[in-house]
């Protein structure tokens, strides 16, 4: 039998708390290792990147980043010697490998495409999702349950399963390799998630608030804007992050449907070819930059996300 304890019965014992913490730390380390390795690779020189055994300690270099953003060409040593002295640090870095910068690479363009398509589709999915969720939550919609199930069912197989029909359809409609096409595609995939998540959040907001606004002289639309939306902020933020993560990271459709004009970063980064095959530091640098926005928004909204993911116990 245990002696007298000051601990509440609901509180886990210190040992189980410690064990839980240990598990979380181990899990975090395991998932962090690939990320750390990517960031480190981005800061290595090409020889260091493919050194065996792998180098954990090395002299950091920005070569990967320079290679990522530039197109270069190899020149004969005689030509290199005839050049005037380098005008910038990156010129110097490139010349060490007997190359000269011939212009910017396409990375910035691809990155901008990712931003346009990722944020555009997220905005659209969250916008449509909010309106639909509000409707489903508040009004008598004929066949409501069937419709909701139908919306959910669009998520029941991996979207890539319909790749071929979409590929053909997009070709006919002229949507292949366009920003609009990719925005619509990602919106389509995300909107079902958005409707379901947001319906949960809006269901949590008691109807009385809107009704109070209605009797206070506001129209339904005004009540939605001034009373419902501010309270759904948390849910909207959480939903937006989930949508953004999907659209930002999507690889298969991007590879299939885009090649030039609207190509996003994910299909572009792995094909950064350098001297003697893949330019690993440039790939590492590109991946690092690619991860930044998601990390930034997730950290920025982490409080909302936590509350968002654990919704159900939100208020009352």
């Amino acid at each position: 039998m245990s002696g007298p304890s000051t601990r509440s019965v609901l509180e886990p014992s210190p040992w189980s708390q410690r064990l839980a913490a240990l598990l979380v730390i181990v899990y975090a380390l395991i998932t962090m290792i690939p990320l750390v390795w990517i960031v480190l690779t981005g800061l290595k020189t090409p020889p260091d990147a493919i050194a065996y055994p792998p180098k954990v300690f090395f002299e950091p270099s920005l070569e990967g980043y320079v290679n990522l953003f530039t197109a270069r060409s190899r020149q004969a040593p005689e030509y290199m010697a005839s050049l005037p002295p380098p005008t910038s640090w990156y010129d110097e870095l490139v010349r060490k490998r007997n190359m000269v910068i011939t212009g910017p690479s396409r990375f910035a363009e691809r990155y901008l495409n990712s931003v346009i398509i990722g944020f555009g589709s997220t905005f659209l999915a969250v916008f449509l999702g909010t309106i639909a969720a509000y409707g489903f939550s508040r009004f008598k919609v004929p066949l409501k349950d069937d419709l909701l199930f139908f919306i959910l069912s669009t998520r029941m197989m991996p979207p890539i399963a319909v790749a071929v029909p979409i590929f053909l359809m997009y070709r006919v409609l002229g949507l292949s390799d366009t920003h609009l096409g990719m925005i619509l595609l990602y919106t389509m995939v995300n909107v079902s998630l958005a409707v379901w998540l947001l319906k949960g959040f809006i269901d949590e907001i008691p109807m009385e608030y809107e009704e109070a606004a209605l009797v206070d002289g506001y129209s339904r639309m005004q009540a939605f804007w001034k009373v419902v939306l501010p309270q759904a902020k948390t849910g909207i933020a959480a939903t937006a992050i989930f949508c953004l993560i999907f659209a930002w990271n999507e690889y298969a459709f991007a590879l299939l449907l885009t090649s030039g004009e609207a190509q996003t970063a994910p299909p572009f980064i792995p094909i950064i070819i350098g001297e003697g095959g893949l330019d690993w530091p440039a790939v590492g640098a590109g991946t690092t930059l690619f991860l930044l926005p998601i990390v930034f928004f997730t950290v920025l909204l982490r409080k909302h996300l936590l509350r968002g993911i654990t919704f159900g116990a939100v208020r009352k």
Binding site: E208, L214, V215, G217, S219, Q222
Partner: protein, 365 residues
Amino acid sequence: MSEIRLENLHKAFDDFVAVRDANLTIAEGQFFVLLGPSGCGKTTTLRMIAGLEIPTSGRILLAGEDVTNRRAAARDIAFVFQLFALYPHMNVRRNLAFPLISQGVPRAEIRTRVAEVARLLRIEHLLALPVRGLTGGDRQRVALGRAIIRRPKAFLMDEPLGALDAEFRELMCEELRLLHDRVGATTVYVTHDQVEAMAMADVIAVMNQGEVLQAGPPSEVYNRPATLFVADFIGSPAMNLLPAMGPLAPGADHARVSGAEIAIPRLRDGLAHEEAVLGARPEHITLSDNGLLRGHVFGVEYTGVRQIVVVDTPAGRVRVRSPNTVRVSAGETVGLEFSKDALMLFDRRSERALRSEQVQGAGNG
């Protein structure tokens, strides 16, 4: 400030009838209380008046105008919700100002009116605070403030004291009534608490299962309940309801309660079948050796200067309100004497009161 009239108001949710054919007139400036047990349709009635629910049939007139199908925003009625529904993302000041903003009231006037209402409700010190941290009483005041700031045609309040502690409720009860007397607006107040209703109302309407059973001043509803339900629901302890033998002819002045002939006010209505009920408030029965109905004391509940003596009789358990000076002990045999003029007779089958020389056609019977 206006009269509200409900004509044959009916509300069904699919097959379930929440409000059945309600007819009520709420006079201008009246403090009108809708009283009934939980689930009887009070909130639904109130929501129909506010325009938050569309009636299945019937009409709602506000100041003589038919507003049955007018949207809530255009009715100029204020609603105080059961859990107050203060906008959680706004501070107190903005909550109060919100109804004025929709009307396009100029900023300077909003400021003076918010200050005015805050002074009236003594919440000036709360204006800058978020509503999340407020106590129940303060939330209540803010909700009231948000209602009165607009000077609407009528106030609707849905169990506004239900969320408060018992001791605080009494205080707010008084404050509410005072506020009403000061502002003078037509008020429909919903509650399931008969004590609250009796304390505040000009007129009480008692509802059960979607039906308005009786509407009248508290004294009338208390003394002359129109149905068995009202008799049982109002008063604490409730009216004693004892089975009496029918049939009763019009003009009868006695009723037989388990063998005892009890004098009653002369009946106007007759009762063709056997199942009558004699209703007597505990304060209209006295313990007396001459009492015709006899029983033995089951127990005594002390309530200050009065006590409730519980007597088991052949007709059932009877509660008698008597002064503390009368000493009785459990098991003792006592007789019960009834104050004739205060007695009521009911038809057990229709559950309605029979008219007598004391009871005109009470309620809407």
